[in-house]
């Protein structure tokens, strides 16, 4: 499970230039962690869908 979380965090950090590698932790509230916009939501949704086959909704955020 730890490997999966770390892999997930790594993929998130790859998507957002504003994130310093290693700055995101499993318990990080990412919406408070950087400049969160609806465009960023699309980036996150896209990565999760392509990498994990999961479709998130606005409610899931």
């Amino acid at each position: 499970m730890e490997l999966l979380i770390n892999d997930f965090i790594s993929k998130i950090e790859n998507e957002f230039e504003d994130l310093t590698p290693g700055s995101v932790k499993p318990d990080t509230n990412f919406r408070n962690h950087f400049d969160w916009t609806s465009v960023n939501a699309l980036v996150l949704f896209s990565m999760i869908n392509v990498e994990y086959g999961v479709t998130l909704t606005a409610e899931d955020l």
């Binding site: 400049d35 916009t37 609806s38 465009v39 960023n40 939501a41 699309l42 980036v43 949704f45 896209s46 869908n49 392509v50 479709t55 998130l56 909704t57 606005a58």
Partner: protein, 353 residues
Amino acid sequence: MADISIRNTRIAGIAACVPKNVDRIADYTLISESEREGFMKTVGVHERRMVSKGVVTSDLCAEAARQLMNKLGWEPSTINALVFVTQTSDYVIPSTAIILQHRLGLPESCMAFDMNLGCSGYVVGLQVASSLVNPTGIRRVIFLAGDVSSINMSYHDKSTYPLFGDAGSATAIEYCEDAPDAYFRTGSDGKEFDALYVKAGGTRHMATPESFEYKEYPGGIRRNDTQMILDGLRVFNFSITRVPVQIAELLDQSSATIESTDMFFLHQANRIMVETIRKKLRIPPEKCPYSIDVFGNTSSASIPLTMCHTIGNNDAQKTQNVVLSGFGIGLSWASARINLKDTLVLPVLEYHE
């Protein structure tokens, strides 16, 4: 989903026409500089073309049609049908296609009608227009598709205003006995209609003075009921879920593969949406060209515009087996696999007022 194949028709030519006026996202100061940069990088629009007051979709499409017919040597008198896909018609009624019959000098025997579709409109319209063709009656069809979406947007709505651009297109279709088969798949989901729509102005909600009053919405958005509403996440999830499945089924239906397809022309909805679809299908980047960076989301014109932008007047013969996919408003989605052998694809035209 409908499993459709069409025989004995060929696409003789494709043209697209855009306004001269360039509007740059860098100048959209309603949002911060960092928001503009994020938008340009993720959504992919850097600039787009917007019509001047008084110029409408039919003007752009008529110009594309005239130039295409001229290049093909098609006399107006030989056209048997005109199909016009748009959501920005000249008038509520009658069909703008009939007005265009007169403007283009087509014969009075010509069938002419509008189809009210947007993002999926080029593919659905292409299928309908192609299905009209037969050896004894309708042998030549002019199919027009486009929108001036800029007139339906609120400047104060950052979810729509910077996304869309204006464009029109013309496609010439004719009977051809030994033409390769064309394959189509379509889908409709009216349950989700309100993910992307204009509320007032139809008969469900007649336009009143109150329809034009601006209201405040979350995120600092201001718009009135005659302007487009876009639920970006709902449309995004719909597209990345439905479209890859449909394209995969289309390839199976047409006994084709990603490898045997030369190019995938996907509706230029927004860059990250298209990239997600491309990655899910494992389409190589070089097979998935874009025009959204310079023209924005141009509704039903986005597929032909991207074709003209990418292969207009050159290399068309190297791009023969192509997949087209349009998806969005409705919600509606449609994909096609067609052959462009001997198709004349013009470079993008500019409208001169």
